[in-house]
Amino acid sequence: MNVQFKKGVLELCVLVLLDKKDRYGYELVQKISDQIDISEGTVYPLLRRLTKEGYFTTYLKESTEGPPRKYYKLTDNGRIYYQELLQEWREFTNGVNQLIKEGDLDE
């Protein structure tokens, strides 16, 4: 996939995953990399940036096994941003799909 494409899409993936419930970093990374071929490490800089921009807050929670986990929680601003991105994404994919469909008909 086009390199320039990536960041916006990754952001959307993270936001989608956090919309329903809080998750910790490793969980987010695994969920995304199950579906999309990514270098997993790039998700962390993204999480930091979105946290600093006020779209997430973080908190530590003890787990039954292993060290405490850092959870990410979507803020109200984050939710608004998520809706915007989702809208953009839908318009974009609809447009592309439409073109593909028309292309098929032409042949």
Partner: protein, 186 residues
Amino acid sequence: MNKEQFFAKLNAPLKKLPAQEREDILQDFEEHFAMGFEEGKTEEQIADSLGSPQQIAKDLVATYHVEKVEETATTANIFRAVWALIGLGFFNLVIVLGPFIALAALIVSGWAVTVAFIGSPLLVMINTVMYPEAFQFFDLFFSVGLTGLGLFIGVGMYFATRAVTNGFVRYLKFNMRIVKGGMKDA
């Protein structure tokens, strides 16, 4: 690459960041490795799927510098942010450095005109001292007029510089968001 090597490579470029921030970042990756171990993965497997530690560090450093510019847009901060963003990939060499040079040239030339106009009576005086016979009142009046014009341009340049700086900072932020991500063919 094992865990130790991964951390060494990740840590080196992060030395530029405040200690607290670096600790925080390293902690995230410590946690990542710990979880991977629990799932029975080896150090090498985890490090492999994380991808290049240098690239991750570059991304973090660039994010940091762009934030700093947002707080205070000093010339030094802008230079650091531009430099860090260029380091993210060849694409940015064109897409960041290009506009940066164009805008910087525009601003520098605007200020050069301002300074030259304001200082023009000085040049007339120097000329008069060196070649007294060449003195004309027209030169003096004209240069005083230029000084007035230069002051106006100076005020305009002040606002233009601020506007351009703000716009460029916004652009850097936008760029940070778009460029680089994490598909493996990057």
